[in-house]
C-alpha cells in the first residue's frame, strides 16, 4: 500500500507543472481567459497544472475581498477548457458518492495546494485535521466557535459541503432573514462549466443582525463586519442563502422528538 502511494506520488510529481511551460500558447491563453471571465472581480493565483491520461488540469486560487476559493479547470486536446470544480476549498468527495474526479487527479490537486500553502506559509495542518489543504477558513472559523459549545463540527471549508453537513446534521433550517443569533448562515459557491464562478461564504449570525465570518485578508480570522441585510443582498441572487440553528446536545436519558 505504501509502495503504491509512493509510486503514485512520484508519478504525480512528474506530471505536475508549476508553469505553463510546454503548453501550446493558445491552450494556456484559453485557460487564462476562462478564469478571468469567470471571476472578473477576483484576483486569480495560478497554483500549477497536472496531466493525467492526456488531460491537463489547471488549478487557481481566487481571492475577492474577504472571500477566497479554488477553481480547477480541465483542458482536453481539441476542446475548450471547462471548469470542473470551484468552491471556497477543494471538495472532490461527497460522502457515500463516487468521487467527481479520478483519485490521481485529486491527489495531484492536494499536492499543488500543499505546495502553494507551504510557499505562503499558511494552512499549517493541524494534527487532528482531516481537511483538504486549506484555501479558505470559512468552516474552521465557525468550528472554533461552535464545537466547544455544541460538540458539532462542520469539518470542511467548502461551502457546498458545509451546506450538505448542515442539511443532514443535527440542525433545524430557519428563514435566513429572521435567523436567530447563533445560527449558521451559508451561501454555497455556484459555478457553471464556462463560468461565471460566484464564490460563496459561511458565517455565524450575531446580535443585532451582524454576521461573523472568516476574512481571507486577515488569514481567515473571524470578523464581524457584515449584516444579514448586506449578506442577503450580496449572496441571495447568485448563491442562495440558507441558515440553520444547531440542536443542543441531549442530556443523558433524554430523547429528541
Amino acid at each position: 500500500m505504501l509502495a503504491h502511494r509512493v509510486g503514485l506520488f512520484a508519478f504525480l510529481w512528474a506530471s505536475i507543472r508549476t508553469a505553463a511551460i510546454g503548453q501550446p500558447a493558445d491552450s494556456w491563453d484559453a485557460v487564462g481567459d476562462l478564469v478571468r471571465q469567470a471571476a472578473p472581480k477576483a484576483t486569480a493565483e495560478y497554483c500549477g497544472a497536472l496531466a493525467y491520461r492526456s488531460i491537463d488540469y489547471y488549478l487557481f486560487v481566487l481571492e475577492q475581498n474577504e472571500l477566497s476559493g479554488v477553481v480547477l479547470i480541465r483542458q482536453q486536446a481539441g476542446s475548450e477548457p471547462i471548469i470542473i470544480d470551484a468552491d471556497t476549498s477543494f471538495f472532490p468527495f461527497k460522502k457515500d458518492q463516487e468521487p467527481a474526479l479520478d483519485e490521481p487527479v485529486i491527489d495531484g490537486v492536494e499536492i499543488l495546494l500543499r505546495r502553494r500553502n507551504l510557499a505562503k506559509r499558511i494552512g499549517i495542518p493541524r494534527d487532528t485535521s482531516t481537511r483538504f489543504p486549506e484555501v479558505s477558513l470559512v468552516g474552521d472559523a465557525i468550528d472554533r466557535v461552535v464545537f466547544p459549545i455544541s460538540g458539532f463540527r462542520l469539518e470542511s471549508d467548502a461551502t457546498g459541503e458545509i451546506l450538505q453537513r448542515l442539511r443532514t446534521g443535527p440542525a433545524t433550517e430557519v428563514e435566513p432573514r429572521t435567523a436567530p443569533p447563533g445560527s449558521i448562515i451559508v451561501s454555497p459557491t455556484h459555478f457553471s462549466r464556462s463560468g461565471p464562478v460566484y464564490l460563496g461564504h459561511a458565517g455565524i449570525v450575531g446580535e443585532n443582525g451582524s454576521i461573523y465570518s472568516a476574512d481571507a485578508r486577515l488569514d481567515g480570522a473571524l470578523v464581524g463586519n457584515m449584516s444579514i441585510a448586506s449578506w442577503l443582498k450580496r449572496f441571495s441572487g447568485n448563491n442562495g442563502c440558507y441558515a440553520f440553528v444547531l440542536h443542543a446536545p441531549l442530556e443523558a436519558g433524554a430523547q429528541r422528538f
Binding site: 474577504e66 466557535v145 470578523v223 457584515m226 441571495s236 442562495g240 440553528v245
Partner: protein
C-alpha cells in the same frame, strides 16, 4: 398472494412511496427560504445565544485591522459614466491627492456604512435635492446634478451639507451635497456601527446606472466594496467652505 407476500408487497409499496415523496421536494428557488421551516426548540435557541456571544468574543474588531480599512485601488469605474474622470478633475481642481498616514491621522474618522444609489432607483426624484455641486452644473430648472464619482448622499444631521469626505474603501474624495432617506436609515441601522456614537450614518454613493438596472448597480457596488460596506470614512472638511478656501 398469501399473507407473507402481501406484507412484503406493502413494505415495498411504502418504501417506493417514501422515495417518491422524498424526491418530490419543491424546487429550490435559491432564496434560502426553507420549503418547510420548523421552529428550533428553546434549548437550541439558548445554545445559539451562547454561540452568538462566543462569535462576538472570538472575532477580530474590524477597526483594529489595517486590512478592513485598506485603501481602494482608486478605480471608480463601478460607479458608471465618467466617474473616474470626474474624480480626477475634482482632485485637480481642489489639489487633492491620495492621503498620507499623517493626513489621515489629522482628519476625523467615523464609522459609516457604504451603500449605492443611482438614477435608476424607483424612488429617484427629479429634480434632485442635491445642493450645488462642485462643477456648477445644473438642470435647466436650476436644480443641481449629482455627479458620478464625486457625489454622495448623507444624513445631514451627521455630516453637514456640502462637507468634503474621503472614503478609504474606494480611495475616493466626495462631496456630501445630496441627502437620502435619512429617517429610514437611522431607523433601520439603529444599533449598527454607522449609527453608533462615532457613526457618520450611511454614505450613499451616487452611481450613473447607464444600461444597468437599479439592482445591478447595487450588486456591482456591493461586490466592489465587500465587507468594507461597514467601514470608516473621514470628514476632511465640515461644510462647504473648502470650495472657497474658507469655513
Amino acid at each position: 398472494m398469501n399473507g407473507y407476500d402481501a406484507l412484503i408487497f406493502r413494505i415495498a409499496a411504502m418504501t417506493i412511496t417514501f422515495f417518491i415523496s422524498a424526491c418530490d421536494d419543491e424546487p429550490d428557488d435559491g432564496s434560502g427560504v426553507p420549503s418547510n421551516p420548523s421552529q428550533p426548540g428553546q434549548r437550541d435557541l439558548a445554545q445559539a445565544d451562547q454561540i452568538a456571544n462566543a462569535a462576538s468574543g472570538n472575532s477580530v474588531a474590524p477597526r483594529s485591522s489595517n486590512t478592513t480599512t485598506a485603501q481602494g485601488n482608486g478605480d471608480l469605474g463601478v460607479l458608471g459614466g465618467d466617474a473616474n474622470q470626474n474624480q480626477q478633475a475634482f482632485r485637480e481642481k481642489y489639489g487633492l491627492t491620495d492621503p498620507t498616514q499623517d493626513q489621515l491621522s489629522q482628519w476625523n474618522e467615523y464609522d459609516a456604512r457604504l451603500t449605492a444609489y443611482s438614477d435608476k432607483d424607483p424612488d429617484w426624484l427629479y429634480p434632485t435635492s442635491a445642493s450645488a455641486n462642485w462643477m456648477g452644473t445644473t438642470w435647466t430648472n436650476g436644480d443641481p446634478l449629482a455627479v458620478e464619482g464625486t457625489t454622495v448622499s448623507v444624513d445631514f444631521s451627521r455630516i453637514p451639507r456640502g462637507s468634503l469626505i474621503y472614503i478609504p474603501a474606494l480611495n475616493m474624495y466626495a462631496e456630501a451635497n445630496d441627502t437620502g432617506a435619512t429617517g429610514i436609515w437611522a431607523n433601520s441601522d439603529a444599533g449598527q456601527m454607522d449609527y453608533d456614537s462615532n457613526g457618520a450614518g450611511r454614505v450613499d454613493v451616487y452611481n450613473l446606472a447607464g444600461d444597468r438596472t437599479s439592482r445591478q448597480v447595487e450588486q456591482d457596488f456591493q461586490n466592489e466594496v465587500g465587507s468594507n460596506e461597514y467601514g470608516q470614512i473621514y470628514i476632511v472638511h465640515r461644510g462647504p467652505g473648502w470650495k472657497t478656501g474658507g469655513n
